[in-house]
Symmetry: C2
Subunit: 411 residues, 2 copies
């Protein structure tokens, strides 16, 4: 039994016309001899409509009940799509989260998948050619409905693909793949044919919103090939797979950016053990995600500490720091919300030296000052003034030759 | 543990304002020391909206998938209402059909309840003060979602009340009880304080749409007292209970009517064994419900056969009869859609003679001709010209003194 998992996002099931397109795709896969597990999101706009509805009812809607409400979105999509399939004689049925079941923990609103019963799915697949599974939802051990958080349908699809060892997990969306950078900013951006899980994770976390991060982590863990492609065209999209030799040929595979960054600087804090903990522990307890952190070399027992947080958390962060100010000896607390982060990403960096030098000199040539630098094995991030974001992206994109046909051609 | 079941219909949960009224009712019951099982319908209009949606997708929507779609209506109501309760500190949770579970057969769209696990409900009731249960829905033995048909939430409520031996099953609606007849037609109509299950069954099947018939059958079978009352006022409504002595005091408890009747007459069919079967078997196979049937005394081996069907089935019925016409020897097939049925109902008829005589003479005094008469132990139905419906109702209502204060006062 050859099984494909195909996930279609909200814009792909927005209305009858879109769903008919999706049906065509599914029928083509059936013709090729596959059985298909179709994972659907809620029709576009529906989840937001339900959230707005809940907010009319309650200022802080109960998270368990919110999940019961939100789950209706996907329930609507899968029942309508199963009707469409059955109308043209396909042996199909819908499956809700609790029916699969997709077992999750009890973190309502952001649940994690714990287990999928592959034997039960295979049993159902004996009787049907297409299973239309509600994405985004699962149930906990006491059969309460849970949801997986924004973009959770991607994770549902990858988890199902992993559970039943599907050949590929196809993620259909309204773009035709993952690009070297945002084409709205850089018209020279090209579609990437093949990208490593780790690169994709960096792309996704940097704000390239094609795939939910967790779904990529899941795919990496269980080695599920993901194919990101368009519902509305037929060409191949982007394969997200294990790193291989061909990927090392290019130094850099993409440029990402994140404008949701704010910089905070603590001037003249004591340079002694435990100070960093005193600063970041209360911030972490407030569920604020700190991204880049740099500490200047010490002078006369004092140092400056700079880090970034999401723009929406600046006020809370400042309040927390003011309480700790005396204890850590900070002479001043500065902040700047007009900053952005640009990042060059590529597994090729592991084998190419000089990537950082190329990036820094390209930015310098445009007179773009770098405030913070942060690196990993496969990325270099620079915090810059927000107004230079687009220029920096185009500059870096060109500097690494990303507008040229890439050497990864084999897929 | 004292438990009340309260069912609220679509108009009672139509919006936030209505749901707040429902919450007040529930809080009052909690104050009185009850635990409450609240059964909700979909918000008014929602089920029709979903049916319209499905019809855009498919001319004949698959019944299994239709139930998955329709179930979202109640799912939305219960999650929103549970949020409201939790917001004011009530220990509450929602329960969907599959979570109770309300086990049904596999008749999608018109499933029958087979079993409700009372031990599980009692277990959950230990932890919560209010359970908000989605009405109208259940699941079959393989966990597929089923729905119980129009008005099914009444049946959900009564079945839950039976399962856990609730003191009363309160059915809250937008009217304040069951009336002696339709107040829109007869302003003298009075609210009935107490009515027997059998009377209510006749009232309901005659078109008094307050309660789903099946819920009354269920209540009768398990002896569940039903209290029909208004969400929007506080007075007592109508108790639907086992027949008792007090009910016999009145000859008649109500006058019902049904305008959805058409009369069909077969003139001169053979008066021999098997003719009735030849007429009614093919009609029944076409799922057409035949109501009143009369056969004239035979003359020269021939007889006339007259019966009624719903107006919408006249054409199909005539086509079926035309095919059988030669076989049954009918000289002509007549039909008349301008007819209506009026019915006087009362368990008191069992002990009062002369009820029929009063009814017939009252109609005669108004020059209303009776086309067909059909009786049971507790009702007399007359088919009349449709244009006299309202006059007949008012006439019968007055003839049986229903506009006077009734002797059933003890509740």
């Amino acid at each position: 039994m050859r099984v494909l998992v195909q996930k279609y996002g909200g814009t792909s099931v927005a209305n009858l016309e879109c769903m008919n397109k999706v049906r065509e795709k599914v029928l083509i896969s059936l013709d090729k001899g596959y059985k298909v597990i179709v994972v659907l999101s809620a029709m576009s706009g529906e989840t937001n409509r339900l959230i707005d509805l809940a907010r009319q009812w309650s200022h802080r809607p109960d998270p368990c009940e919110m999940d019961v409400l939100l789950a209706t979105g996907e329930q609507t999509s899968v029942s309508l799509f199963a009707m469409l399939l059955k109308d043209c004689g396909v042996k199909a049925r819908s499956l809700l989260g609790f029916q699969v079941p997709i077992q999750t923990d009890k973190s309502f609103g952001k649940a994690r998948i714990l287990d999928i019963d592959n034997e039960r799915i295979e049993e159902i697949l004996e009787k049907y050619d297409v299973l239309v599974v509600a994405g985004f939802q699962g149930c906990d051990c006491s059969q309460r409905i849970t949801t997986l958080g924004r973009g959770g349908s991607d994770t549902s699809a990858v988890a199902l693909a992993a559970a039943i060892n599907a050949e590929t997990c196809e993620i259909y969306t309204d773009v035709d793949g993952v690009y070297t950078t945002d084409p709205n900013i850089c018209p020279q951006a090209r579609k990437i044919k093949k990208i490593a899980y780790d690169e994709m994770l960096e792309m996704a976390s940097m704000g390239a919103k094609v795939l939910q991060i967790r779904s990529v982590e899941f795919a990496k863990k269980y080695n599920v090939p993901i194919h990101v492609r368009s519902t509305f065209s037929d060409g191949p999209g982007t394969l997200v797979v294990q790193e291989d030799k061909s990927m090392e040929a290019a130094m850099v595979s993409g440029v990402a950016y994140d404008k949701d960054q704010a910089r905070i600087t603590l001037v003249g804090v004591y340079d002694e053990p435990g100070v960093a903990a005193k600063i970041f522990e209360p911030i972490s307890r407030a569920n604020i995600v700190v991204d880049m952190i740099v500490q200047n070399p010490s002078r006369e027992g004092k140092t400056d500490m700079t880090f970034t947080v999401p723009k929406g958390n600046v006020e809370d962060t400042l309040n927390i720091l003011k309480k700790a100010q005396a204890d850590i000896g900070a002479q001043a607390i500065l902040h700047d919300v007009d900053v952005a982060k640009v990042t060059v990403i590529g597994v090729g960096m592991r084998n190419h030296s000089g990537v950082a030098a190329i990036a820094f000199s390209a930015l310098k040539n445009e007179n773009i000052n770098i405030m913070i630098i942060s690196t990993s094995e496969i990325k270099i991030s620079c915090l810059i003034e927000e107004k230079y974001t687009e220029l920096a992206i185009r500059t870096l994109h060109e500097a690494f030759g990303l507008d040229q046909e890439a050497p990864r051609k084999e897929c």
